[in-house]
């Protein structure tokens, strides 16, 4: 039966059309490449021809004869690009429609055996250099790659591969590059090679942007000097290396390009990142190189995490003291994920909350739950966890986090030894709860002017003081906020929620919607003592003590019942009461200026008996001859 190939398919593909899915005929197939099996097709639309490389995932089709010379095929997925004035097409997906057919039409075959020329032929036929001198550099080029290298071949027959390319902008030296430490890599290095172990392998990710579809994956390397660097591959390069790279194995890598590391995703201590290209080489080193460690950590004691900045990436190791069950969380993109909360404790006397997201919940999280349930206290090492400062400081997993249960490293052994010899029973303070240092024994009493005069709140930790003062004014605008009522572990989320249409509320932190929100105080109050007055902010518990009723009641009174009279009466009735205020004082940046912010952490009614004792003490302690009463 007559077959009609897609008219002008070759011209269309060459002009960049990747969506047409044309029907073409395979006029010729050649095996290219000596270390890698690559096939080059010569495709025809019955009038013109064009070379196209077959992506390696389709090699099977050639080997099994599903596609051969003369086959009519439909190109389903392919990419076209221009490199140094030539069209390169790579076939990513195709379907053989008719396996055998006589050559249709009179397609113009490319002229062969000419020196590599940069002029484009009328039909944009790719010049066919005869391919004696083949090495991996002849593999399918990645579309965005400019460092394309085609061997210039001048003679058809056997000729040892020329060591010097006379074509192209740079003279390339073909001698193998020296192995250098990863720490010495930089874009101006020239030839380099590194020998390193893969410490992490990322997932294969597909993406879609203005330039079309693509795929990418990354892996991290560690060498014997402790240098680390991330390596990334795009599109066709992914095909070459994705199955070659295995975590834990050592490779000799050369000829990639160095670009600045993307700090948002790449948390390794290196300002550069390697991008592999079609001419890059990755060689497995089978003999076990003991000089290269399997993993490199820089653990921080939990106590140091307390002063770490929000979103900082760090490594931590600790004993798992509790594991909470997995809960489903709805993410912003509508996908559901899992979350688990654990607590880790270390020898610094502090403990920290660790939040596992997604797969970590089911894999390591589940294992840890089983271990803790059966009475064990495993050591957990976290590589690349992210600090979160919402409530005290806690750590969360990110996509590049790695978890190691009971790792075989000296820090784990040290921790286990500490735990078994008493660490188990020492109480530890959680840095993941807002801490109020100093009990009633070491309360520091200040007057309100002392706060300003002594510059309290200006150091990097907040100051905690007690002041006896009287409420003189309560701001009634915005006295409360709509809060998330959902529980996170053993405490309420309390983050401010936003309305999401039709009377429902949305919490960003929990990623859930609900009907009823909670109302919590955010009171601005002015307090006064015999020295002066100041504004303070009171949250829920303090607010309830000051106003004597819940934020929800006040909210309903003011906004639902709109009873301003009663509302005003309640407010007035709460003025001029004296309390002992426990205050947290901290200077914070508001826009451009530093302002001292005072928060009421606790409100206590004055106990006259105790307060009298305090005052008597103050009066008598400075007497020259202190009488014993």
């Amino acid at each position: 039966m007559p077959v009609n190939l897609t008219r002008n398919a070759i011209a269309m593909m060459n002009s960049g059309d990747v969506n047409s899915k044309p029907l073409v005929q395979v006029v010729d197939i050649k095996l290219i490449g000596n270390s890698q099996e690559r096939y080059r097709f010569l495709l025809s639309d019955s009038e013109s021809t064009q070379h196209a490389m077959l992506a390696t995932q389709l090699n099977e089709q050639v080997r099994t004869g599903r596609v051969k010379k003369g086959s009519i095929i439909q190109l389903i997925d392919y990419i076209c690009s221009t490199v140094q004035n030539r069209r390169i097409i790579v076939v990513l997906n195709m379907e053989t429609i008719i396996p055998e057919y006589e050559i249709i039409g009179n397609p113009k075959l490319p002229t062969g055996s000419e020196p590599e020329a940069n002029k484009s032929m009328p039909n944009n036929n790719l010049l066919e250099p005869s391919t004696r001198s083949t090495n991996n550099r002849y593999s399918a080029p990645a579309p965005a790659n400019k460092a394309q290298s085609f061997q210039p071949t001048i003679q058809p027959a056997y000729q040892p591969p020329p060591n010097y390319k006379i074509q192209g902008p740079i003279m390339k030296n073909e001698a193998p590059a020296r192995i250098i430490p990863i720490a010495a890599l930089n874009p101006y290095q020239g030839r380099w090679a590194i020998k390193a172990r893969v410490t992490a392998k990322g997932d294969l990710r597909r993406y879609n942007n203005a330039r079309g579809d693509g795929k990418v994956f990354s892996f991290d390397l560690l060498d014997s000097d402790g240098g680390e660097i991330r390596v990334t591959c795009f599109n066709a390069v992914v095909d070459r290396f994705y199955n070659v790279i295995e975590v834990g194995k050592v490779y000799l890598i050369s000829k990639g390009s160095l670009k600045p590391a993307q700090k948002n995703f790449n948390h390794l201590k290196n300002e550069w990142e390697i991008f592999l290209e079609s001419n890059s080489t990755v060689e497995l080193c089978p003999d076990e190189d003991g000089s290269i460690p399997r993993q490199q950590f820089s653990f921080r004691p939990i106590t140091e995490i307390e002063s770490a900045e929000n979103n900082f990436i760090l490594d931590v190791i600790g004993i798992v003291i509790s594991v909470n069950p997995s809960v489903p969380i709805l993410r912003k993109n509508g996908m559901e994920t899992q979350r688990r909360i654990l607590n880790l404790k270390d020898a610094s006397g502090k403990s920290v909350e660790l939040t596992l997201w997604g797969d970590f919940c089911n894999k390591e999280g589940q294992k840890l739950q089983e271990m803790v349930d059966s009475g064990l206290f495993p050591v957990l090492a976290v590589k690349a966890g992210k600090v979160n400062d919402f409530n005290g400081k806690s750590i969360g997993t990110i996509s590049s986090t790695q978890l190691f249960i009971d790792p075989d490293c000296p820090e784990a052994q040290g921790l286990r030894a500490w735990f078994e010899s008493g660490g188990r029973n020492t109480a530890s303070i959680s840095i993941s709860k807002e801490l109020m240092p100093g009990g009633s024994k070491n309360e520091i009493r200040k007057t309100l002017t002392q706060i300003k005069d002594e510059g309290l709140g200006r150091s990097d930790k907040p100051d905690w003081v007690t002041a006896k003062a009287t409420v003189v004014f309560i701001k009634t605008d915005n006295f409360c906020y709509t809060a998330c009522p959902l529980m996170i572990g053993d405490r309420q989320c309390n983050k401010k929620v936003t309305q999401s249409g039709n009377k429902r509320w949305l919490c960003d932190r929990c990623n859930q919607e609900f009907e009823e929100c909670d109302y919590r105080y955010l009171l601005q109050v002015q307090i006064q003592d015999h020295t002066g007055l100041t504004w303070v902010t009171a949250f829920q518990e303090a607010g309830e003590e000051i106003l004597g009723c819940s934020a929800k009641e006040m909210y309903l009174l003011k906004y639902e019942l709109q009873d301003d009279t009663r509302f005003g009466e309640i407010i007035r009735s709460r003025l001029f009461h004296q309390y002992l205020f426990r205050l947290k004082i901290k200077e914070e940046l508001y826009g451009d200026e530093q302002r001292v912010k005072i928060t009421v952490v606790k409100v206590d009614k004055v106990n006259y008996s105790a307060e009298s004792r305090y005052l008597l003490d103050m009066v008598t302690k400075n007497f020259p001859n202190r009488k014993q009463f």
Binding site: Y608, S609, S612, R613, L616, V619, T620, F623, K627, F629
Partner: protein
């Protein structure tokens, strides 16, 4: 405020310093009769207060009156101070008011 005849803060031991003068003190009632009340001062002495106590009388009562002798007061004013009272604080006050800080009081 009438400051013409201030009453000195006294406990049992300090009463003798103000015999014949106006004093004030708090006692813990031990016995109450028609014309007088017996009570324990904040420093543990037994005092007698003559006059008409209020009815009902709470455990602690403040009396303001004239000191008759070193253990009795003729009360002019009675004030119930309730059933719980910090005696040691009051006692310390009395000592300061008659000692280092006397100048602040009378």
């Amino acid at each position: 405020m009438d400051t013409s005849s201030p009453a000195a803060f006294v406990n049992g031991g300090l009463l003798r310093m103000h015999v014949g003068r106006k004093v004030r003190t708090v006692i813990q009632v031990t016995r109450s009769d028609a014309g007088s009340v017996m009570g324990k001062s904040t420093d543990g002495c037994q005092l007698v207060v003559r006059g008409s106590p209020p009815a009902p009388l709470t455990s602690y009562v403040e009396v303001i009156g004239v000191a008759e002798n070193e253990n009795s007061i003729r009360a002019e004013l009675w004030t119930n101070f309730g059933d719980s009272f910090d005696a040691s604080n009051y006692d310390q006050l009395c000592q300061l008011a008659n000692g280092e800080l006397k100048h602040l009081f009378l």
